[in-house]
């Protein structure tokens, strides 16, 4: 059986969907955070498979950018979560709703 790019793309789409659904249904901020990471990496997988399929280095380069941005995002996001935890002894997303119209 030959593994075509379609397999990778399908896998990436599945991972992305799992991440997206997880983000919407889970209430623990840490888990939501991991779901975001899952989505990011699903997209990375797409980039790499297209880079391979189209023989274009551009896709692989983009992945590095994504990784850097994701690292920055983790740093900020975890800091926020820690700050929230110190204040309210819990990190449930739905409890943090002060900023509303």
């Amino acid at each position: 059986m030959e593994i075509t790019p379609a397999y990778y793309l399908t896998l990436a789409a599945l991972l992305f969907t799992i991440g997206a659904v997880g983000l919407l249904v889970r209430r623990n901020t840490l888990v939501m955070f991991m779901c975001v990471e899952l989505m990011l990496n699903a997209v990375n997988l797409t980039f790499v498979s297209f880079a391979r399929a189209l023989d274009d280095i551009g896709g692989q380069v983009i992945v590095f950018f994504t990784l850097v941005v994701a690292a920055a995002e983790v740093a900020v996001g975890l800091a926020i979560i820690v700050a929230i935890f110190r204040r309210r002894q819990g990190v449930t997303a739905d409890d943090v709703n002060l900023l509303k119209g």
Binding site: A20, L23, L24, R27, M32, A93, D94, V96, N97, L98, L99, K100, G101
Partner: protein
């Protein structure tokens, strides 16, 4: 060739103050007072020297070659659209940078005296330098995008400086209000840029000038009016003038630099820069002219009844900016720039003078508790008098020449209605300024010495030197553009001619008519002064100026702030404090308050009620909306484009 080499260094003009801002933000605390002030002032001064040198080399070029573009790098590129980060040096931008850096340097020097002892002394100068850099970028930009960068920069600095003393709630609120109101104008500016890009494919000033002939008149009108919305916000014209009087919460040098001399004139500059659109449109010009004339008259009526020394000047600024828009509206761009320059001198002078008074009286701003200060602050009084004569339009001070030119141009264009409105405004201007001068300097003293423990004192030399320099400039700046000589010595008009070469010049119908109009303008100014002196010679009148008394019926009935719609979108009313009820002693009446509240409640429930439910504060519901939006977009592409 040598002169062009120097023009290539034009980027130094904004870069020097920017450097100052960076240095002071990083090392400000360590540099300390007064060295931080000296650093800022020195960099501002060298920026002025640089501007002056490039002025010399630009004037060495033949008139038709005075337009030099210096591209530093490609800022961004997307498809066929590329924006270069570049500067355009032409007579218009040159005029602007000369007076921005010149007046800016004087005000920086003044600030060292005024801000003495402030705990955030170096921070203040960092913001001032940042402001100067943004303002210079705004006027020097070679495309609308670079200008917009500066435009946003000055808005930011205005916010930071208005709420510089943020411990005071009113200052924090005023800064926020200035920022939010300016956003409304920026929205128009952005839309104009989008439309320009869609129709012309470029945002460079040179490209615009060539391409404007190809677009339809309606499109030109749309672009012109959208740009004008931006200008209205920045230059505090009706109905977006509401932020400027409150912006007086900032330190006085800020009011002088940002809210009198430079930033608020950016709107007028923008219209001048975009004049091809206004020329290509048949109706945009008259809209601009009438908004300007209306604002000039309206703001002057409000200034009549203000008791805060700075608020009088704030409304006066709004009014004078109205005159500039009147001028650009009738196509007299040179006259507008002329008035902009002279106004920068005399209004900066008046603001700095009022700052000196406030400083000398120990932070007293109410004119009802001043009077007789001539004896205590001779230099401030003398220079203030020069500024007063200049703004009242008395020969030979600067304001006479520029205001007279605007009114005369309106007359020669056949816009007699505009002339009448402008002339009435000029009468009111002379009156309220005379009121201020007499209440502050001449009438019997009414201040309470025990309140601040010492006699009023003259300010230190760092503050009086700029006053004297600006007084000299206010007295002689009329020389820039002298009519009635043979041949007319209109240096500024000639200098700006290459920029506005496509514009039909407005010529005087006849020499004697021009002279007659000037005489009328002068008589109006003198009448206003005599009237003001007669009313306020002995200090407060029994009518409206005494604390706790309401103004007489005619004053209360005058348009004033009452013309303003009370129903204002929520962000302008509730979030930003007292907007609707600005006229003294009016807003506190229970009936007005109740009406305000009822109407605001109805507006809010009607307009905001539906939308606010979307903002639930739940992170997951936002995520869901993003997901829904993404899916909808994807579906659109799949169905319509056939992905």
């Amino acid at each position: 060739m040598e002169s062009r080499d120097l023009l290539d260094l034009i980027w130094l003009v904004p870069a020097l103050p920017a450097l100052g801002a960076v240095v002071l933000l990083v090392f400000g605390k360590r540099i300390g007072e007064p060295a931080a002030g000296w650093v800022a002032t020195a960099l501002m001064g060298s920026s002025f020297v640089m501007s002056f040198l490039s002025f010399l080399s630009l004037s060495n070029l033949p008139a038709e070659e005075r337009g030099h573009v210096r591209d530093l790098f490609t800022w961004f590129e997307s498809g066929g659209f590329s924006v270069k980060f570049g500067f355009l040096v032409d007579p218009l931008s040159m005029t602007m940078i000369l007076f921005v850096t010149g007046v800016g340097t004087l005000i920086h020097l003044y600030s060292m005296g005024y801000m003495h002892g402030d705990p955030r002394f170096s921070r203040f100068f960092a913001y001032m330098n940042l402001f100067a850099a943004s303002m210079l970028m705004l006027v020097l930009g070679s495309s609308f995008v670079v200008t917009f960068l500066g435009w946003e920069g000055v808005a930011l600095c205005s916010y930071l400086l208005v709420s510089f003393w943020f411990e005071r709630n009113s200052a924090a609120v005023a800064g926020k209000k200035a920022f939010v109101t300016n956003r409304v104008g920026d929205f128009g500016f952005l839309l104009a840029m989008f439309l320009m890009f869609q129709r012309l494919g470029t945002l460079d000033y040179s490209g615009i000038e060539h391409g404007v002939g190809e677009i339809a008149g309606g499109t030109a009108t749309a672009i012109a009016l959208l740009l004008f919305v931006g200008a209205v916000g920045k230059s505090a014209q009706m109905p977006l003038h509401i932020w400027l009087p409150d912006a007086m919460e900032g330190p006085t040098p800020v009011s002088a630099l940002i809210h009198a001399a430079t930033m608020v004139t950016a709107g007028v500059f923008l219209v001048c820069r975009a004049h091809p659109f206004f020329e290509a449109s048949s109706s945009a010009g008259s809209v601009v002219a009438w908004v300007g004339a209306g604002t000039a008259l309206f703001a002057a009526t409000v200034a009549l009844v203000q008791n805060d020394i700075k608020r009088v000047l704030a409304y006066s600024t709004v009014s004078q900016l109205g005159y500039m828009f009147l001028a650009v509206g009738v196509g007299a761009y040179q006259a507008a720039i002329f008035h902009m320059v002279t106004h920068a001198f005399f209004k900066a002078l008046l603001f700095l003078g009022s700052g000196s008074v406030i400083h000398g009286l120990g932070d007293e701003q109410d004119m009802r508790r001043m009077g007789g200060l001539k004896k205590y602050m001779p230099i401030t009084a003398a220079t203030f008098v020069v500024g007063w004569l200049a703004i009242a339009g008395i020969v030979p001070f600067a304001g006479f020449w520029s205001k007279d030119e605007i009114l005369a141009k309106a007359w020669f264009e056949g816009q007699y209605g505009l002339w009448v409105v402008g002339a009435v405004g000029a009468l009111l201007t002379a009156f309220y300024m005379t009121r201020q001068v007499w209440l502050v300097f001449y009438s019997p003293a009414r201040f309470d010495e025990s309140a601040h423990g010492h006699e009023p004192h003259e300010s230190p030399w760092t503050m009086t030197t700029p006053l004297v320099a600006l007084a000299v400039l206010s007295a002689v700046a009329g020389l820039l553009n002298l009519p009635f000589t043979d041949p007319p010595l209109e240096f500024l008009t000639e200098w700006l001619h290459p920029v506005f070469h496509g514009v039909d010049e407005i010529h005087a119908d006849s020499f004697s008519l021009g002279l007659a109009l000037s005489t009328v303008a002068l008589v109006i100014g003198v009448c206003g002064i005599l009237l003001g002196r007669a009313v306020y010679r002995n200090g407060l009148t029994p009518y409206g100026d005494r604390p706790g008394r309401r103004p007489p019926r005619p004053v209360r009935r005058c348009p004033g702030e009452r013309l303003l719609p009370r129903r204002r979108p929520r962000p302008f009313r509730e979030r930003t404090g007292y907007v609707g009820c600005d006229l003294p002693r009016r807003g506190s009446r229970p009936a007005d308050d109740r009406r305000c509240r009822q109407r605001s409640g109805a507006t809010r429930q009607g307009g905001g009620g539906g939308i606010r439910r979307l903002q639930s504060g739940l992170m997951r519901s936002y995520a869901a909306w993003i997901a829904v939006g993404t899916v909808a977009l994807l579906a659109y592409f799949v169905v319509r484009v056939g992905l």
